[in-house]
Symmetry: C2
Subunit: 317 residues, 2 copies
Amino acid sequence: MTGAAAPVYARVALIGLGLIAASMAHAMRDKGLAGSIVGHARSAETRATALEIGVVDAVFDTAAEAVRDADLVVLAVPVGAMGAIAAEIAPHLAPGATLTDVGSVKQAVIEAVAPHVPAHVHFIPGHPLAGTEHSGPRAGFATLFVNRWWLLTPLPEANAQAVARLEDLLRGLGANVDSMEPAHHDLVLAVTSHTPHLIAYTMVGVADHLRRVTESEIVKYSAAGFRDFTRIAASDPTMWRDVFLTNREATLDILGRFTEELFVLQRAIRMGDGQLLHDYFTRTRAIRRGIIEAGQDTAAPDFGRGAAVPPPAEADS
Amino acid sequence: MTGAAAPVYARVALIGLGLIAASMAHAMRDKGLAGSIVGHARSAETRATALEIGVVDAVFDTAAEAVRDADLVVLAVPVGAMGAIAAEIAPHLAPGATLTDVGSVKQAVIEAVAPHVPAHVHFIPGHPLAGTEHSGPRAGFATLFVNRWWLLTPLPEANAQAVARLEDLLRGLGANVDSMEPAHHDLVLAVTSHTPHLIAYTMVGVADHLRRVTESEIVKYSAAGFRDFTRIAASDPTMWRDVFLTNREATLDILGRFTEELFVLQRAIRMGDGQLLHDYFTRTRAIRRGIIEAGQDTAAPDFGRGAAVPPPAEADS
């Protein structure tokens, strides 16, 4: 479907060509939101792939070349790489251009990027709450952001017109847009995303180390619970390393509360306190209902299985 | 689709009429695996529902009445209720009948049930690794067991013919069947299911208690990670209370390892050890690939979203 609307930006430069950037490019193209889309990725292979599959109209060997004449520049690299990229591109940003990012942590990105941004450029930090466990330009798809939240954390001195224009683009991608303080963003995400990811990584690691249970048993019998953890724990290692290193305080805060709480349940199991367990498990159901009502998931009884289950290849294996 | 094969059992009695029993009934009916299907549930409302939606041909007010003349009796009640049910039905079980269960824990069920089982009845404990976060007879569906594992933990004195006949039924439901020692079963499940569930409950509980983040924020911004946890943490509270109380030793063992491992990652975050985090997150990807290759999940990039995403009701909300 190609939209009839005029492009929101004449030239968009994507720095980093992974899942998020490629999905933005597909959606912008489908909806006619950008005049042209160019990009840069550190790896020559990624640049060639992005060009080959039509994610971008042109690629550049350096980020500095890619941002020239762009009225929107999107930093879509791991959080730990944002500062160096900002320093590199700063002298080449066009006057009046908007610079945004898609990092999962906002305070650290602002600290790393803002000092480099010239006065004539609008820096508006952002974070789309969307993703899959797959990485790279081929993982991108146009509907990734549909009905997902895209959080902006504009600085106090942000230009209202530039923010409104960026919001137009994001809504055009299908996203719902909200704004909040960077510190509050980092705390909310520590609860809803960062700590759950760390816990999932940990549980998968425990299974990996266990000598009395073979890996093939883990894999075969992961019908419930664990399978969802492995999906989470398959996410991009570099991205997640940077998330934990740069959202350290909030993650450690939530981890501390998690451990306290886990010990309460662990003690209840040890002491045989069934009433405490039952009450606790009953309370947690309510949050799930809220998420389904808010349209962030479906009530379909698939337990994360996604697509329809294919018939068994060998009934007796 | 109605199978042309002869029924495996002439009369199946389902004790408990929740998700698992109802799914078995739907599948047995579709495949012509049972001559007739009768049942009992403690709640009159559940009995009426099961009869109304055609899950069973007849319901009985007591388990003792339901099992009369059945050549297969399935205990599909929470693990903590199995012993009392076994004591009640034991005098009414038909000679040569097979008695099985679908409990998530096997040693505790065997300890509770086996002493009541008469010598003329074949007791074959079992556990289907299938489920959703929904409960009750209306949650059942015929394809729940397709390509899922159904683990049997037969006792040393088990009758091979009776075991083979039960396996025929389970394969008829679409399941893959495997046998193992009860203690090993309980350890494997502590890793792949019980501990992940406890952790998911804990994380959702932490979010529920956090004063600085509103519940509406948790619900709105749960795009990744946390949403999968809430799905797991919405499972039946009574079933899960009983799982933890009856698989206490294995769960506490795995929980101890989990906490150790979590502290290693927590320390790496505190000390800024990015190499440790990156190496760890890279290793956990391999298990995920194994699960996809084993056909226990799909590689579809939906991050647990299940069905296709509907367009946003309000683009600006």
